[in-house]
Symmetry: none
Subunit: 400 residues, 2 copies
C-alpha cells in the first residue's frame, strides 16, 4: 500500500486521532520471574483500554531487524522505513532541534586531539566540557567556504554537528574519523561523482578548522562522520489530510515529526507538561503524536524496575488523556528496548487501537504475549496510519 | 529486506545457531479424530521447548502455494524463493550428490522404448532395473559432443541425470518428452536465442544416444525434461558471516545446502548419526542446518500413524540436541506434507525459536493451531534467518 494510494482514499472529517508512542515499549521477561516489564507493571488503565481495543504487535522494519529511532518513528508515521532512511548526521542535528531543510548535508563531529605531525592522540579530546564545546563551535562558525552556508552546533562534551546548506550537495561522503589513534584524520572522499563538490567544501572546512584550533589544548582538531543528506519526505499532513501536531519533550522526536511536516508544539520537560499541551491544543489539530521517553531510557540502562515504574507512571495519565475524548486512541512504541538487552531490540511491539469501530478482540491485557493473539495480528508499523485513519472514518472505500 | 541489507547489518559473534528442519513438518487433522499429526503425537520435549520459545507459522512462498523442496529450503536459508529458483534438472542432480558448478545445465532423463519408426511405446522402458540403468549410463558416457563436457548419472530404475558443462550454456530449452505414446520424441528447441547452441549440443547427444542404444530392449531411447541452469547464488556464509555446516542424510538436502555455500558434513544414514555429527563438529562451526527426513516420507505415503511415529522419534532427540547448548535453536520445516494429502501442502508450517532473548509467548504446544497464536505471527520463511541472527546477537541496529 503506497502513500499515494492512501492519499487518494482520504476524506475529510473532524475526528480527533491520538497516537501515543511509549519509546522502547516492548520488553522481554526478567530471568527471575519469567515476566516482562509490561507483565510486571501495575497498569490497570492500559489493561482496561486493551480490553476495549483491537490489539496486535507492530513490526517496524522486518523480523529480526532492530530499528533505530529514525526507522522506528518513520514506520509509526506511515512511511516504509526501508524506503525512507534517515542517516546519523541528520538524526544528530534533529536531536539538537536544528531546523534542517531538504538538501542539507549534516555530519556528526567530534573535537579530538592531534600531535604536532597531525596524528590523532585522543578521538574525544579528553571529553571536553560542554561549555568549552560551545566556545569552540562559536570560533568554528567564523569559517567561510565559498558558495555554502555552514552551521556548527554544539551537542554535548566533545560532540558537535556540522551542517552544510547550498543547492547540489550530496551526503555520499567517506568519514574523517579513522576510529584509531596514531594516524592523521583522512580527508573526506566523494563516494559518488555527485559528491565531489561537497567533498571539496568539507575538506576546506576541516583545513580551516585545524588552523582555527591549532593553539587549543586538547581540542585542536575535528573528526567528522555519519554524513547524510536530508531528503524531502512526502508530507504527513498532505498525504493523510490531517492538521497534525507533535508533542515531545525530547528534541530528536520533535525533529522526526518536523521532518514529515507535523507542527511541533511547545511543551515542557515532563510528560505531565505534554498532556497539558495536548489538552490546550485539542481544538486546533486533528492528529496528535504524543511521545513518552522514560520507558526507553530505563530499558537502555538495563534497569528493569525503572522501566516497570516508567510504565506505571504513564498508566496513571491514561484517564486524563481519555478525558480529551479522542475518536481514535492508539498506544504503541517505536521499537522494543528490553531491559535485559540494555539496547533497542528486534522484538515486535504491542499496539492497542481504541475507537468506536475498532472491533475489540479477546485481548484483555496490554502485554507482549496477550497482544500476540489480538485481531490486528503482527503487522508492519507503516500500516498503522491507514488503520488509524479508517477508525477515524477518514478513508473512503478502495475500488467500486 | 534484501540480502545486501542484512549483510550490511551483520556483526561477528561466537554464538551457536542451530536450525532443525523436519521435512514436511506441517500436517492436517485426521478425519476420524480432528487432530493433526503434531496434535496426535506424544512430543513432550517439543511442547516444553515451544513453551520457552517464540512461536509462529512459516509461509515459504505465498498463501496457497505449495513449495517444492527447492523453494522450501531456499526460504529457510534466507533466500526469496520467488527470486532464486532451482529447476527440476538441477534438483535431480543435487539429489544424487552430483557436484554441480555454476553455469551447468542439468536435465532429468528417462530411458524409454520406441518402435522401429521411433514412436514412443513406453515412456519408462518398463521401469528397467537400477542395475541396467547404471550399465546404460556407462555406455552413454562414451558420447562426445564438441566443446562441452557431458555427465550421465544413473538415478533409479529408468531415471538418470544429464549434465552439460561449458561456458555460455543456457537452460532455456523445451523438453523431448511429449508425455504421450505413439509419437516420436521431438528435438529440443531453444526457448531463447541464447539457448540455441545448447539446443544443438543436446540434440547431438540425443541422436548419439539413440545410436548407442539402438539394439537395447526395452530401453532403446532417452527422454529429457526439466532443463535448468545452475545460477550462482549469493553465499550464505558471506551474507550472514557464519561458518555454516549442513548435516543431512539425504543427498538432495546436502545439495541444496552446498548450493548456497554451506559446508556439508559427512554423516551416516540415520538421524542419530546426524546428531552425533552435530556434536562432533560443535566447535568448528557457528551455524548448523540439521535435516530430518522421516516426517516427509510418512506424509508422502499418506501414512498418518507413521508420521506421528516419526515426530515421536524426533522428539526423543531434542534433549540430546539441547546438551549442545546452542544460543539459538529453531525447529521448523521446509513445507507441510499432511498425510491426508499424501503430498506437499500449502499450509503454513509451525516454527519455534528458542534463545535467551526470544521473548517466549503464550504458546505451550508445538502444533499448527497453537503456533498460529504465537508472537512471531505468520511470516515468510526468508525472514527466519535474520531473526535467528538477531537472537544470536549477530545483527546491528538498522538506522540511527
Amino acid at each position: 500500500m503506497d502513500l499515494e494510494l492512501i492519499r487518494s482514499l482520504v476524506v475529510p472529517n473532524t475526528t480527533k486521532l491520538v497516537l501515543l508512542s511509549l519509546d522502547g515499549l516492548g520488553g522481554l521477561p526478567h530471568p527471575d520471574t519469567g515476566k516482562s516489564e509490561l507483565e510486571t507493571a501495575r497498569i490497570p488503565n492500559l489493561h482496561a483500554l486493551a480490553a476495549r481495543s483491537a490489539c496486535g504487535l507492530l513490526r517496524h522494519v522486518a523480523p529480526g531487524i532492530t530499528p533505530g529511532s529514525g526507522p522506528g518513528h518513520l514506520g509509526l508515521f506511515g512511511y516504509d522505513p526501508l524506503r525512507y532512511q534517515v542517516g546519523r548526521g541528520i538524526l544528530e542535528a534533529l536531536g539538537i532541534d536544528f531546523e534542517l531543510r531538504a538538501g542539507d548535508v549534516a555530519a556528526r563531529g567530534n573535537f579530538c586531539s592531534v600531535d604536532r605531525s597531525g596524528r590523532i592522540t585522543d578521538r574525544r579530546a579528553g571529553r571536553i566540557s560542554t561549555d568549552l564545546c560551545v566556545t569552540l563551535c562559536q570560533r568554528l562558525r567564523a569559517i567561510r567556504v565559498p558558495g555554502a552556508k555552514l552551521f556548527v552546533e554544539p551537542v554535548k562534551e566533545h560532540r558537535f554537528v556540522l551542517v552544510l546548506r547550498r543547492t547540489g550537495l550530496s551526503g555520499k561522503l567517506s568519514e574523517t574519523d579513522p576510529q584509531a589513534l596514531g594516524v592523521p584524520p583522512p580527508p573526506v572522499r566523494a563516494l559518488a561523482p555527485a559528491a565531489r563538490r561537497t567533498a571539496t567544501l568539507v575538506n576546506r572546512f576541516v583545513a580551516a578548522a585545524r588552523a582555527v584550533l591549532s593553539r587549543e589544548v586538547p581540542a585542536n582538531m575535528v573528526l567528522l562522520r555519519g554524513f547524510d543528506q536530508l531528503r524531502r519526505l512526502p508530507s504527513f499532513p498532505k498525504i493523510f489530510a490531517l492538521k497534525a501536531a507533535a508533542i515531545a519533550a525530547y528534541p530528536m522526536y520533535r525533529g522526526l515529526a518536523r521532518l514529515v511536516g507535523m507542527e511541533v508544539l511547545k511543551t515542557g520537560a515532563t510528560f505531565a507538561d505534554e498532556v497539558a499541551t495536548l489538552h490546550q491544543h485539542r481544538e486546533a489539530y486533528d492528529f496528535f503524536f504524543l511521545h513518552y521517553k522514560d520507558t526507553d531510557k530505563a530499558g537502555e540502562d538495563g534497569d528493569f524496575a525503572a522501566k516497570v515504574a516508567a510504565l506505571e507512571r504513564l498508566d496513571a495519565f491514561i484517564p486524563e488523556i481519555l478525558t480529551l475524548k479522542p475518536d481514535v486512541l492508539v498506544v504503541t512504541g517505536d521499537h522494543a528496548t528490553p531491559a535485559v538487552l540494555k539496547a533497542h531490540g528486534w522484538q515486535p511491539v504491542p499496539v492497542l487501537l481504541w475507537s468506536a469501530f475498532c472491533g475489540a478482540d479477546a485481548v484483555t491485557l496490554f502485554t507482549e504475549r496477550a497482544c500476540a493473539a489480538g485481531s490486528l495480528g503482527v503487522f508492519p508499523a507503516q500500516q498503522l496510519m491507514p488503520l488509524i485513519l479508517a477508525n477515524g472514518l477518514r478513508l473512503s472505500k478502495f475500488g467500486a
